[in-house]
Structures are given as C-alpha cells and as structure tokens.
C-alpha cells in the first residue's frame, strides 16, 4: 500500500485545505493522475498521485485543512500485498482525527494549521461531508467544543455555509504571510552571495526577430525562453547550483527543472517548474511556458510543478528594473535574475556600437558554491546567448 499525503508545494507551505476529491474509493489511479484539489496560501493546486493502484481509503474530507505530510488516502498498489509498506489503516484513523502529520513534522510557520484544527466526531464528520458542510463553520457543543452529530444537523437546518473559495483579500493576506515566512527563513539560514554580469543580447535578439518573422503568431517565441534555456544548459556545466541543501548537506537534483517566478494579478507570485528545461526545444519550452503562465494566473497549477523546481529564474525587466538581487527559495541553492533590456553604447573590437544589453545576476548559497563557480555559471549563460541558434 502507498500513502497519498498532503504534499509540500514549496518551502512556504505548512498546511493545505482539501477542496475536493476527483476520485472515489475503488477507483483505479495511475502515477501522474490528478486525484485531488488542494487550497494553499498561494493558489488552488491540482494534486497528482505518485503511485499506481486502487484507492482503498479516503481519510480526509473536503473542507479540512491539514498539515503537510498528513495521509490523505491509502492506495493499494498493483503487485503489492495489502498492508505492505504502511501501518494498518485502523492505526491511521486517530492520527487523522488529531491532524498530526505522521511522517513529516509540521513547520511552525504561519500558524494556519493550528487555527484550522476542527474537533469533530467521526460520525459528525461524515455527515458534514455528506451534507456539504464545512466543519470549520460549525459551532461544537460537545466536550471541549467537540462538534457532535446534532451540531451538524442543526447547522444544516440553519443553512451553514459550504466550503467556498476564499475571498481574494484573505488569500492575498495569507499569500503575503507565506512569502514572508519563506523569505525570512531563507535570509536567516542561507548565506547569500551575489554576482552580476552584463550580457550582450544583440545576437539573440537579431536571431529572434528573424526567427519570429518565419513563424505564425501562435508559434512566436519571447526572449525569456532563450534566457531560460541558456540558464538550464549552463547548469549542466555547473551542476552544483542545481541542487538542494537538506539535512545539513548538499543533495544533487536528478533533473534540471527551472522554476519561473510568475507574478499573479492582484499581487504575490508563484515559481512553478518547467520540467526538464535543458532537454526541451525552444518550441516546446515556449509552449510549456505559455501554458504555465496561463495556469498560474488562473489557479490551476499541478502539485509537481510546485514541488519540483531545482533553481528559480526571475525577470523583473518588464517592471523597469535593471538589476535583480533575489532571495533563494529554500531548499534550492541558487536564484538567477534578469533585468530589463537596455540599448547602450558597447565596445566591440575597436568600435563603439549600440547594443541590447541585459544584466544577469546570480544569488548563490555560499554553503554549496563559491563565487568562482558562480562566475563560471554566469559566463556560461553569457556564452550560450551569443549563439542562440544552438539553444
């Protein structure tokens, strides 16, 4: 059997609220299937399963907020005997009632999980789920404020509110709190160093202009895709920047999944992954990038996109910023920033010429790399962008 747990979708997430199940007990699921929707402080996320088998138990009801690591469901994996790998289900029930993460300790972060605990009897919980009532909205009259079956019935009569998407201002506040917690932790724990270099983007822009002339509107590329691909390929040359710092040591990431900082309308940001950025063609990357931006802003990201980034790239050029000194998104160990493209005089050979220039920066974790390796990385990015046709 396999546990399907509340995933940690970024360092700034300590708890999530189950919005709905997309599968029911007895349904067959395959690795990669979206089986639940979860609300985080930042967005509503489609959560994928990482096992193939049959759903045996759903242990958390829609509307409940539980800490990261809490078992949400039990899946009977194909080819494995029942009961293998996890404790018997009967032992799990008390843990769910108490909302205690069985495998991963909850981070004392933004305090949302504590506030979300609901003391409710199993029968009342089931009735509330059947009636579509959010247990958090029901006043408990049992011992210690425990919600009883009668409380749920009364709430149903009184028209207790059903779980509804959170109002935008509340989401904004929680997102800010989540970002604050993650960034404060990063600044507290990670000894950052910063490097910057100016890159001549004229060859890349000239190539892009010619390339886009040949393409239909829908197939055009934006220059940001060239930057992402160059970063991904440069990471092959300095792979220690594409790693994680966990448990006091460096762990190499198995793939290059560049997280792209995407600003959300109304404030805040997310940084979902473009999977296997280094292996994709520019066309494939552009397609995925467009899709990712659209889904990030419409609130339909998938869990793997938020849990998989191995490095983050942020571009603030369109906001008029020339140089970005970013904060690393723990447990990642580097962040790459790009500023706006400017047209400036540039010495080429013996001549002063006009060139399109962009400032690239690296924020590095000094526990993992030093300035020498960071410098080699930025040089590799610069060099790759001089031959855009090879990206």
């Amino acid at each position: 059997m396999a546990e399907f747990v509340m995933p940690q979708l970024g360092a700034d997430m300590s708890a999530g609220k189950l919005l709905r199940w997309r599968k029911k007990v007895g349904d067959r699921v395959q690795r990669g299937d979206v089986i639940a929707d979860v609300e985080t402080d930042k967005a509503d996320i489609e959560v994928e399963v990482f096992s193939t088998g049959v759903i045996e138990k759903l242990l958390v009801h829609p509307g409940e907020k539980v800490p990261v690591g809490t078992i949400l469901a039990i899946i009977q994996e194909e080819g494995k005997p029942a009961g293998a790998g996890v404790p018997p289900v009967t032992q799990l029930a008390p843990a769910i009632t108490a909302h205690v993460a069985p495998t991963a300790p909850m981070r004392p972060s933004v305090g949302v999980a504590e506030a979300a605990r609901v003391c409710i009897s199993p029968a009342a919980r089931k009735l509330a789920a059947d009636l579509g009532i959010d247990p958090a909205s029901v006043a408990g009259t049992g011992p210690g404020g425990r919600i009883t079956l009668e409380d749920v019935k009364q709430a149903a009569k009184a028209g207790a509110p059903q779980p509804t998407p959170e109002a935008a201002p509340d989401r904004q506040i929680r997102m800010r709190q989540a970002i604050a917690a993650a960034m404060a932790r990063s600044k507290r724990e990670i000894p950052h160093y910063y490097l910057s270099t100016t890159i001549d983007m004229s060859p890349a822009m000239a190539w892009l202009t010619q390339e886009n002339l040949k393409r239909s509107v829908e197939d055009r590329l934006v220059y940001g895709v060239l930057l992402l691909k160059a970063v991904a390929l440069a990471l092959r040359q300095v792979p220690e920047l594409n790693s994680k710092w966990t448990g006091g040591k460096v762990v190499a990431s198995p793939g290059i999944h560049v997280g792209v900082a995407i600003s959300l309308r109304g404030g805040g940001l997310v940084a979902p992954a473009l999977h296997h950025t280094d292996r994709q063609s520019l066309d494939g990357l552009m397609k995925d990038f467009r899709d990712l931006v659209q889904r990030a802003r419409s609130g339909s990201l998938r869990s793997s996109e938020l849990s998989d980034p191995t490095i983050t790239v942020t571009s603030l050029g369109e906001q008029g910023v020339e140089t970005v000194f970013g904060i690393i998104y723990s447990p990642q160990v580097a962040l790459v920033g790009f500023g706006k493209m400017v047209e400036r005089p540039w010495l080429a050979g013996n001549q002063v010429v006009s060139r399109h220039l962009i400032t690239a920066t690296l924020s590095g974790d000094h526990r993992v790399t030093d300035g020498h390796r960071g410098g080699l990385f930025l040089t590799a990015v610069e060099r790759l962008l001089q031959e855009p046709e090879k990206l």
């Binding site: 002339l213 509107v217 829908e218 934006v222 940001g224």
Partner: protein
C-alpha cells in the same frame, strides 16, 4: 465591422488577458501595459487573441502600435481597411 465594434472586440480580447480588470475604466490614450500590468506573455496572448478574432497577422515590429486602446483600434482598422 464598424470601429465601435472593432473597439468592442479589442476590449473583449483584453478581458481574456486581464479578467480581473474593470475595462470601463481604461483610459483610451494611456498605455494599456501601464493600466493593466500586462507583460510580454500577455502581449503575445493579446496578439494571438486578435489574430483569432479578426484573422489579422500583426508583425512584431508593429507591437508598439498596440500600446493604447485608441492606437490599437486605429491600427487594426487600417489592417482591416475600415473607414
């Protein structure tokens, strides 16, 4: 198609790009980018949206002509040969 209908189409496509925006407040002579906080990906989606609605090919070199609601409408009217 009249220019008023064309402007309505432009606003409808913009509404798909920035669904949260109150487009009735859009100042026709101010840069759309400044008013709606759109980025280059939004701009590309805007151009693709106009292409789908109006069957027009807008070259990258002409993107600056889409900067305000008025200039965008005038530019598209010229492409469509509207009076």
């Amino acid at each position: 198609m009249t220019k008023d209908e064309l402007r309505g189409t432009v606003l409808r496509v913009l509404g798909q790009i920035a669904p949260e925006a109150d487009l009735s407040q859009l100042k026709p002579d101010r840069r759309i980018r400044d008013q709606l906080d759109v980025d280059s990906m939004d701009l590309l989606n805007f151009v693709i949206g106009l292409h789908k609605e109006l069957q027009v090919e807008i070259p990258e070199a002409d993107y600056p002509r889409l900067s305000t609601l008025n200039s965008c409408t005038e530019y598209l009217a010229s492409l469509l040969s509207l009076a």
